[in-house]
């Protein structure tokens, strides 16, 4: 007969409700107005970038682009919890995290505009470029974390994927080795409820995505992904555990994709505007602004200055991007190997002389 041998719990971390009210005592860092202003500013900046990128794409001046609209709290929450010396391994939707980490709007525009130089970040030299093949960044994070642990650095590898990425074998294989070797890695899931047209509930029967951590024997936790404080808090605790040698974590952030999947997608084919309208009531910027106004006397003037500053920055980045010539065609050979093999020199010359 069956006898009970093991039991597991999953928690969810939430700090602010949709109106910006604190649900309970806020974590230490979230009581400081300056910190909250920085977090809010970063989310506004990410949204300004998003708006600009979409405008450029709509006018044929940028390639297919994946908007992070409504998910700014995930990117900013994750990145703000990290140290500069940590390593970010983002999916294709975490512009907010990349911007906080020091990737420039110009670099992001170059990448999404079809120029490889956009992934040669001047800022976070150790961060990985955008990862398009879903879930393949998780094994990379395990490898980065392995290198970190062998060098005894205090750094942590932080990989971010979507709800869809939790269906990929790579995700499980990597999470399993992170647990096995107690590697300093944190896997964050931006559960925006959709994988293109596939709903979260059509992706897995698991009640939460956080519970998938149980399969790897690591810590799994949910966080309100519309609440930058909750995301930052959950990820900060995960980073502290990883740095303390307590191993990795899986953090599921509950957010919502307010926009189309990408500029090549038309979400009206598969979801009701009504559902989207509902979720606009929970989006992260309004919520934190309300809290700032109520608890840290955020002023209209500050708000306007912030918006203006962000818009100006993005206009400038766009101008520089549009003024940047493409590389010479032969550049396609110049970073294939450290030194171009003899066998390829004729091909390079052909391109050069075409």
């Amino acid at each position: 007969m069956p006898t009970h041998i093991a039991h597991f719990d999953i928690d969810c971390c939430a700090c602010l409700d949709a109106t910006g009210q604190a649900i309970g005592p806020l974590p230490e860092f979230a009581r400081d107005g300056g910190t909250l202003r920085a977090l809010y500013g970063a989310m506004v900046r990410a949204r300004a970038f998003d708006t600009k990128a979409i405008a450029l794409q709509r006018t044929g001046r940028l390639g297919t682009y994946a908007s992070c609209l409504g998910q700014e709290a995930v990117g900013v929450g994750v990145a703000s919890a990290m140290e500069a010396s940590d390593v970010l391994l983002p999916s294709f939707r975490e512009h907010a995290a990349q911007l906080w980490r020091g990737v420039t709007p110009l670099e992001l525009l170059l990448y999404w505009g079809g120029d490889e130089r956009g992934s040669d970040f001047a800022g976070p030299r150790g961060d990985f470029p955008v990862c398009i093949p879903v879930g393949t960044q998780f094994p990379h994070a395990a490898g980065v974390a392995l290198a970190i642990s062998l060098s005894r650095e205090p750094a942590v590898a932080v990989a971010v994927g979507g709800d869809g990425s939790t269906s990929k074998g790579d995700f499980y294989e990597a999470m399993n080795v992170v647990g096995l070797w107690r590697l300093p890695a944190v896997f964050v899931i931006n559960n925006n409820q959709w994988a293109i047209s596939v709903r979260r509930r059509e992706q897995t029967a698991a009640r939460t995505l956080a519970q998938k951590a149980i399969a790897a024997g690591i810590h799994g936790e949910q966080a309100d992904g519309n609440d930058v404080i909750a995301v930052c808090d959950a990820v900060s605790r995960a980073l502290a555990r990883a740095r303390g040698g307590e191993g990795g974590s899986l953090i599921e952030c509950l957010s919502y994709r307010l926009g189309d999947h990408t500029t090549a997608d038309d979400a009206s084919r598969y979801r009701e505007d009504e559902e989207v309208r509902k979720h606009w009531k929970e989006e992260p910027l309004t919520r934190l602004r309300a809290h700032l106004v109520a608890a840290h006397d955020w002023t209209k003037a500050e708000e306007e200055a912030l918006l203006r500053g962000a818009a100006t920055e993005m206009d400038g980045a766009a101008e520089t991007y549009l003024a940047t010539d493409a590389e010479l065609p032969a550049a396609m050979f110049d970073h294939l190997h450290n030194t171009l093999p003899a066998a390829l020199q004729a091909q390079r010359a052909e391109v050069d002389n075409a």
Binding site: G63, G114, D115, E116, S197, Q203, A326, M332, L344, Q347
Partner: protein, 326 residues
Amino acid sequence: MPELTLVEAVRAALGRAMEEDPSVIVFGEDVGIDGGVFRATDGLVQRYGFDRVRDTPLSEALIAGMAVGAAARGLRPVAEIQFMGFLYPAIDQLVNHASRLRTRTRGRLTCPMVLRAPYGGGIHAPEHHSESTEAMLAHIPGLRVVVPSSPARAYGLLLAAIRDPDPVVFLEPKRIYRALREPVADNGAALPLDTAFVLSEGADVTLVTWGAMVTEAMSAAAGLAEAGIGVEVIDLATLKPLDADTVLGSVRKTGRCVIVHEAALTAGLGGEVAALVAEHALTSLLAPVKRIAGYDTVMPLPRLEAHYLPTEARIGRAIEEAMAFA
């Protein structure tokens, strides 16, 4: 007769196959309500229901392996990989199972599955969305690899692939999904697999290609016709098993062979075609064989993409060189 684009022809063939055979099912990412990111499966779920048209989780290895299991149990799964750049996790199931289930069980279990995937470059797609690695698949014994190059051939070849009792990988050149329309009769008539198509006769040069490059090849041929050069354009269509007889027959006639594909040159399928010519039509050759292909470097992002892919001009020059050779 309705004028269809290539992607509409794919959709028509899928609908026809599901209509005539209840064992045909379709699954993959976003193939349901969304109708596939290129709309190849648009309307199928409304007509045939959620049982037969299924959105899968985001798991390519599963998509291929589940197709093997379903096929072995008597269904005819037509599974979609959203882009060829995401097909690699499925290769294990193709090599180790789909292609050998019949052989390893001496015919007891079979694998009548089709794995569809849009492939190729030229549409300014994001990174990893312009893959063209058909040669890797064409190396797998027991697997058929089919690439249509026009709406009518897409319709007839996909029907043939679905009806074939063995596994077929069906690669759709997305660059020409909507580039041209032609009359396609949705009459359930399949085209033969394992057979190349001679698209234009010519006495001077044999031009072997497939997929989106057929368009470039045909315009190059048209251009050279004015210059009095007769180019025989052959669309391989079925890359594996390859119709060597048609290719060799043509080369024996023309004495010249130019091969065009957008995949990287080295170990691309053009090498196989050139090898067959060097083995079996050497004495007919009046000029060296020439391959025009993508370069042996990573497919660049959109800003440099056009410099990577073979162009009508490059093809034309190769043919002129072959003609000039003495």
